[in-house]
């Protein structure tokens, strides 16, 4: 009879079964409903785009693992999340090869060169999107209508553009399939350039045009709530971003309601929900202290409204979060709590 040897350990004795792959796997679970809804809404183009982007992210990470003679780091799921998030931020008819470029750029520039998971300053998905925003400014602002008939049997014409080639004009095709007078603009675009507001109900349910996974604010909130309920996400980050957006757009709205959008519209339109819930709350790129989280969230909310209202782009959440990521080390330095019992520095206290 074999007896188990008695092993003595020092504290801690109680360990939570939480580790990086487990949390990341749960984020993937939380993202799947959003992906499913995006596919239901925009059809097989989005399905194929998501698959291509995720595989490119995984392939890029594996490639750099091989280059640096390291074991594969694919099983921590983080690249899968990057791929899913990136695909959700792209327009539904985005050419597949550009999606692959975005995935490569995001993982290579924002993640691998900094040392992989845990060391990345910027959110890789957003960095990838920022790269294609700068590289292909037309393709990334070409929108196709939601719920067009035949979306499960045919691709958006621009999806299957051959690599390195320019996507075909979709305006004619959109006129054929669009149910109502679709003008090729997102709610934010209509607001900015034509001063047409969209009803909040449409924004909540996601019956509007936009990037693949950003349209239904309600679904994103629910999926985020799952992560918050499992204590895998810091709920204060999205909360402070919402506060920042409401305050900034509220002040502007009070100054001139004709010119500036109301806070409700600002909150539920565009990629704000997706960005605040799943990208700004990235554990690596956000501050650690509660006070730091407050500054970070308010800053992102403020910058988002600022870019939307006064910038040349109609959407600002991407650059706002990237700027927030860049500020994080500084915010963390500012808001370090004083050690218990430590004397405050000379000259600073009364």
């Amino acid at each position: 009879m074999s007896q188990k040897p008695i092993v003595l350990h020092t504290a801690p004795h109680v360990k939570k079964p939480q580790d990086v792959p487990m949390i990341m796997r749960n984020v993937v679970y939380a993202l799947l409903p959003i992906v499913a809804f995006a596919v239901y809404q925009f059809g097989i183009s989005v399905l194929l785009l998501t698959i291509v982007v995720v595989l490119s992210c995984l392939g890029t990470e594996r490639f750099f693992n091989w280059m640096s003679d390291k074991p594969s780091s694919l099983n921590d799921w983080s690249s899968t999340i990057t791929g899913l998030l990136l695909a959700l931020t792209l327009p539904p008819g985005f050419p597949l090869w550009m999606g692959a470029v975005a995935a490569f750029a995001g993982v290579a520039i924002a993640k691998v060169v900094f040392g992989g998971i845990g060391y990345n300053v910027f959110n890789p998905a957003l960095a990838g999107r920022a790269f294609v925003q700068a590289a292909f400014p037309v393709a990334i602002t070409t929108w196709t209508p939601a719920f067009f008939s035949g979306r499960f049997t045919e691709f958006v014409p621009s999806t299957l553009t051959s690599p390195l080639m320019m996507p075909p004009e979709t305006a004619e095709w959109v006129k054929q399939v669009a149910v109502d007078g679709f003008s090729g603009a997102t709610p934010l675009g209509m607001m900015k350039f034509q001063s047409i507001s969209t009803p909040t109900a449409d924004l909540l349910l996601g019956t509007v045009a936009g990037s693949a996974g950003e349209t239904s604010a309600l679904l994103i909130l629910l999926c985020g709530a799952y992560l918050i309920a499992r204590k895998m996400m810091n709920w204060q980050i999205p909360a402070w971003i919402f506060v920042g957006v409401i305050i900034t757009s509220g002040v502007l709205y009070l100054i001139n309601p004709d010119k500036y959008a109301d806070p409700m519209f600002m909150l539920f339109s565009g990629g704000l929900m997706l960005g605040a819930m799943f990208m700004a709350s990235d554990m690596v790129g956000s501050p650690l202290t509660p006070k730091g989280v407050m500054i970070y969230g308010l800053l992102i909310g403020f910058l988002t409204v600022l870019i939307r209202q006064f910038g040349s782009l109609s959407e600002g959440i991407m650059y706002a979060i990237l700027l927030g990521n860049a500020m994080t080390p500084l915010i963390d330095t500012w808001t370090q709590p004083r050690l218990f019992g430590a004397q405050p520095k000379k000259g600073k206290s009364a």
Binding site: M67, D69, M98, I109, V113, F131, A134, A135, F136, P137, A139, T161, L164, M165, M166, P167
Partner: protein, 218 residues
């Protein structure tokens, strides 16, 4: 009289060190300003590389000839005057023969004066060596610089414009990568080449270590 005996022999390495082992851009990281700014196309890169190489060789010759006459206290100022003379020459020649290239490069031709590769060569090589050796070394450095600029300019033109030396490669439906002709593209492509060369170097080291280890075991 210096204690170290001067080595006047010209070896293959005198020429080759600028191309690979001490490449001014990829190894010494000198002259970053023109490297990033004028490499939006291969032809610009070639023009910049040729202009710099000419100034490099000519100023190396002159500095080397006068190396025993230039007082140490004012040597930097003297080098700059010599370099500026040749830059002015290049500036006028380019303006006279290729107005388009001159317009594309703008102030960066005049700025060759402050390119630290040239001053570095004058200080490190030409002021201590005989004219012929200095010129051979300068030619290698100039060629290395030109090749490095071509590496950047080639990639940026192919992706940013779909052409190489102005010849279209992919037909009329090519989608240009706007970012590649923007300043950010310069940094990204430079970083890409640096990663590639560093990786090749490490791989070579790793292989020679493995071979060395195997020998050691026997």
């Amino acid at each position: 009289m210096s204690l170290i005996k001067q080595d006047d022999t010209i070896t293959v390495d005198t020429f080759m060190e600028g191309i690979w082992r001490e490449n001014p851009v990829f190894v010494m990281m000198l002259g970053m300003c023109p490297t990033l700014a004028v490499t939006t196309s291969a032809i610009n890169a070639l023009g910049m590389g040729a202009a710099t190489t000419f100034v490099l060789i000519a100023s190396s010759l002159l500095v080397s000839l006068f190396r025993n006459l230039i007082p140490a206290g004012v040597r930097i100022a003297t080098y700059i005057v010599i370099i500026a003379t040749f830059v002015t020459l290049v500036d006028y020649i380019m303006q006279a023969y290729s107005q388009a290239l001159y317009a594309a490069m703008g102030a960066f031709i005049q700025l060759i004066v402050v390119n630290c590769i040239i001053l570095g060569r004058a200080e490190a090589c030409a002021s201590r060596n005989k004219p012929l050796k200095s010129m051979v070394n300068a030619a290698g450095m100039g060629l290395g610089f030109t090749l490095a600029l071509l590496c950047l300019g080639g990639v940026r033109e192919i992706l940013g414009n779909g052409s190489l030396f102005g010849l279209p490669l992919f037909g009329e439906h090519f989608q240009p990568w706007v970012i590649m002709v923007l300043p950010a593209g310069g940094f990204l492509v430079l970083a890409g080449w640096l990663i590639l060369f560093e990786w090749l170097k490490l791989r070579k080291q790793g292989r020679s270590q493995q071979v060395g280890g195997a020998v050691h075991e026997h």
